[in-house]
Subunit: 249 residues, 2 copies
DNA sequence: AAGCCCCTTTGATCCATGTCAACGTGCGCG
DNA sequence: CGCGCACGTTGACATGGATCAAAGGGGCTT
């Protein structure tokens, strides 16, 4: 959590996010909306907020009143147990939404932290509900986004409940690869924004186990890793890894 | 999956569920709605469907067009991997909703199976969306329900990612106890509707491990178990179990 | 440019839970 | 009413990943 002295003193900037001008809307909430509808949405997406690496977008327990769309950067969400144990519940990149968990109790139920300097669009939730009572497409798309989050979580449960360490890491890398691809980046080469410990927490493994699995993949020629830089050399090989043995030790 | 010969040949019964007369609405979708609003909802909740034990409400891959509210009985949802591995993603009881995962792709992404003879209300999803564009309370409540599902899944991820076997089982029993309590049943005594294997799948454990944990809890005087009959003798003791050590082996 | 600290890697050992096996038990069906 | 079978329990052993430990590397700070 480096607290570097920086030129920009304010993180809350009152500038229209302008969904209509945003090249992300194919990935984000406006997906499928007409131009006129997107302009209505512009009125709801109140402002942008910049975060430095390590900064919290929100913390568990804080009152909820908006969801956020990642405009640039990279986040993690996590849940802390009283005894200090941490579970990373997800990593969010460009175009993905943050804060959906807060709707339930009107308080955030997890922490959201920027893993690199990032920018989000703030979407006041009551406004979004209002607009989605008017625009059926928006309503339906929002429901799909929430549902997708549920499906995603089931995938993670599957991973945590039935897969062994190397399968989990393979699944994780393939998932990242696919999401980078969808954003126009290379499917085969990327920088991890999170530490081995955060990967481990997400995958239910210790950081040493994650590190060893990386090394093993490298030995087997499946990937090339150096620190946070990953190149996938053999995608089918990684996929094959995932459909094998039973059990967890 | 006993295929008993039964008197009732039809499972799809065209009878109004009548939310307005249903004593469950404090637990279910109509929560917080006015009487007039509940009557509108009655028009949407198309019909009831009865399922025998072992019967599927829906299967992964089937087209999605409705969500379901459990009116009576008990369900599990699960996801299957190609290689046969199963992950139980949840157990649903009276008043809880099934099928939210299907909204995302318009196809169900998991299987829903009745663990005892059960009855559900069918809620055609497009109708629900239509009505929730009219009734803000309903819209907001529905969003809360979806969000609650996300929060619940994060809890399971925490459990699978950071807890050891006995902690997981303690968390599971306390959760069941709390949900039975909310439904007016005894918090301390209930019948499990699922097998040790299903519990194990949900908790990311093998059935033998679940069985041993039950036996251990019994030795320690925390519970009394006999087969599917469970009595909780020491709730604080179970809670204490959950806030201890690190690590998974 | 140097130094520090965090992250990562790797090795050695341990332990929780998986695996395999055998036996017990109660429900449902014939 | 009793038999069979799925479910549950318990024991012995195997092992994957955790734990403990130590050393190397890279980037940010000074």
């Amino acid at each position: 959590m480096p607290n570097r002295k920086i030129a920009t003193p304010i993180t809350l900037i009152d500038v229209k996010s302008a969904c209509s001008n945003c090249n992300l809307h194919e990935l984000c909430l406006p997906l499928g909306l007409s131009h006129a509808e997107i302009e209505k949405l512009d009125e709801v997406v109140a402002n942008r907020r910049r975060l430095k690496r390590g900064e919290h977008l929100y913390r568990a327990g804080q009152p909820f009143d908006a969801i956020y769309a990642v405009r640039s950067g990279f986040f993690k969400t996590d849940v802390l147990l009283e005894d200090g144990r941490e579970q990373v519940t997800g990593f969010q990149m460009t175009g993905e939404l943050l804060g959906l968990d807060g709707i339930s109790t009107e308080h955030h139920s997890c922490n959201a932290v920027a893993l690199e300097d990032s920018e989000v669009c703030t979407i006041p939730f009551l406004h979004l509900e209002g607009l989605s009572r008017e625009i059926q497409t928006l309503q339906h798309h929002f429901h799909k986004v929430m549902s997708r989050e549920i499906v995603r979580d089931h995938g993670v449960m599957m991973l945590l409940g039935t897969m062994r360490a190397e399968e989990r890491l393979a699944a994780f890398l393939l998932n990242l690869s696919q999401r980078f691809t969808a954003r126009g980046y290379s499917p085969a080469e990327f920088y991890l924004r999170m530490t081995r410990e955060e990967i481990g927490s997400y995958l239910g493994l210790k950081l040493e186990t994650v590190s060893r699995a990386f090394s093993r993949f490298q030995e087997e020629g499946l990937i090339a890793v150096q620190q946070k830089h990953v190149r996938i050399l053999n995608t089918p090989g990684l996929k094959r890894l995932m459909s094998h043995q039973q059990g967890r030790g």
